[in-house]
């Protein structure tokens, strides 16, 4: 009995917090495990693209952030799409966007409308873009179309072929 009350209270609390936070999006990305002689974790950029490839929001960029005193920035240009659309105009590392590279496996990024990245996002049609580039490896870009703010909770997904595995975009109104 007491347990039910606690669970109900917690559920209400979580529901309340979710309501208060407004719409949110969660990106799940799989960095594939590759059987190669020389492996470096890929540089990966996540951003939201509006009309005409304009960058509506930078979500995250994973790179060798402290590699020999900024030397890791030398390879940011290999994220060719991101570099052209946004990166070359930024003074990296940008707080809240720049992060270290991740090892193979599944990684999750969560953003809500209160976050800096999404706070200025006007209602409309967008694309989530995920671009990965790996030293001694290849490059891959994947896109997912979505509407913001979401009308209902749903999940979009795609799959990379080489440098990216499964990519899921969970949208919560």
């Amino acid at each position: 009995m007491r347990l039910t009350v606690i669970v109900a209270t917690l559920a209400a609390l979580v529901w309340g917090v979710a309501q208060a936070a407004g719409p949110s999006l969660r990106v799940e990305v799989e960095i594939p495990r590759l059987r190669v002689a020389e492996y470096h974790p890929p540089y990966v950029a996540f951003w939201i693209e509006g009309e005409g490839h304009a960058v509506a929001a930078n979500l995250a960029v994973w790179y060798e952030i402290d590699h020999h005193g900024g030397e890791g920035e030398k390879w940011l240009k290999d994220l060719r799409q991101w570099w052209r659309r946004s990166g070359r105009g930024l003074d990296m590392p940008v707080d809240g966007v720049a992060g270290a590279t991740r090892r193979p496996g599944r990684h999750t990024l969560t953003f809500d409308s209160g976050d800096g990245a999404l706070s200025g996002l006007a209602p409309g049609d967008y694309r989530l873009v995920v671009e990965a580039a790996r030293e001694v490896g290849g490059r891959e870009v994947r896109r997912l179309d979505f509407h913001w703010p979401p009308r209902d909770a749903h999940t979009l997904e795609t799959r990379g072929e080489d440098e990216l595995g499964e990519i899921k975009l969970h949208l919560v109104p």
Binding site: G70, L76, K77, Q81, R88, G89
Partner: protein
């Protein structure tokens, strides 16, 4: 082989006319560019950079196949580097070998650099003691270098400009300010923002004014590995503008040429202006 044929033509000329008449005729008819049939070009190791203080290295050569060192080196006397802030930079490790010249450049500023090799002077051909000579130098040198007893002297003014562009961080446009002398290119589409399948617009200027009706040739690199050289031809419109769509990613060679009589030297009746740029097109 080709130049051998030309020489015998010239001999026939000399025999048919008195020297003075032949000289005057030759000056009037001077066809620039004949002696320099080979294309010249710069080849940068990178054109788009991120981070600070990276080095690039640049090759400079003359050859007909893009971009292979199989003829001779391009001289670096006219090498000038313009930095994003409008100043200049000194290249390091200059070297001129048999087939190419090389120099290194540290990209210390954020923005767009212009690397140019400009040869601005007189080109002359003449015969002395029955031997044909070719000469290139400044107008001042012309007066002292060319022997008084030179025969069949033909001189033309020549301004050759070979350029390439390199950008660290966001592209900037300060280096596109033209000098107002010779044939120059002022890009509307930034030369370090070129992508396969997209269209670029460049304006050509002669002495700072839009140059209409100029022939522009664009040749993709990697000629050795295909049968069709892939040469593209364009002509500038009334505003001196040329529009070109890049068929694929890669390094491209662009050349434009103009002949006119707006000479600045008393020794030449004609001048030949050549502009060359090496441009990198990236995949989308």
């Amino acid at each position: 082989m080709v130049s051998g044929g030309k020489r015998s033509d010239m001999k026939r000329y000399a025999n048919a006319f008195p020297l003075k008449a032949a000289l005057v005729l030759a000056l009037m008819l001077a066809v620039p560019g004949l002696a320099e049939a080979h294309r010249f070009w710069l080849l940068p190791s990178s054109t788009v950079l991120s981070g600070d203080g990276d080095w690039i290295t640049v090759d400079a050569a003359r050859s007909n196949d893009m971009f292979y060192f199989n003829h001779n080196a391009m001289g670096l006397n006219g090498l000038r580097v313009k930095t994003p802030d409008g100043g200049g930079a000194e290249p390091a490790n200059r070297f001129t070998g048999e087939l190419r010249s090389v120099f290194d450049l540290r990209i210390e500023q954020q923005g767009t650099y212009k690397i140019a090799v400009v040869d601005d002077g007189l080109f002359a051909r003449y015969r002395i003691d029955g031997e044909h000579r070719r000469w290139f130098g400044t107008a001042d040198e012309f007066a002292t270098d060319i022997p008084d007893d030179a025969e069949e002297l033909r001189a033309s003014e020549r301004i050759n400009r070979a350029e390439t562009f390199v950008t660290a961080g966001a592209p900037t446009r300060e280096v596109f300010e033209p000098t107002g002398r010779g044939l120059e290119l002022v890009p509307e589409t930034h030369p370090n923002d070129l992508y396969a399948g997209e269209t670029a617009r460049f304006r050509l200027l002669v002495d700072g004014e839009p140059a209409a009706g100029v022939d522009v040739t664009v040749v993709p690199g990697g000629a050795r590995y295909r049968d069709d050289p892939g040469t593209m031809k364009f002509v500038t419109d009334d505003e001196g503008m040329v529009e070109l769509t890049w068929p694929h990613a890669g390094m491209y060679w662009l050349e434009a040429g103009v002949s006119d009589d707006r000479v600045s030297s008393e020794y030449a009746a004609q001048r030949r202006l050549t502009y060359v740029a090496t441009l990198e097109v990236l995949p989308l």
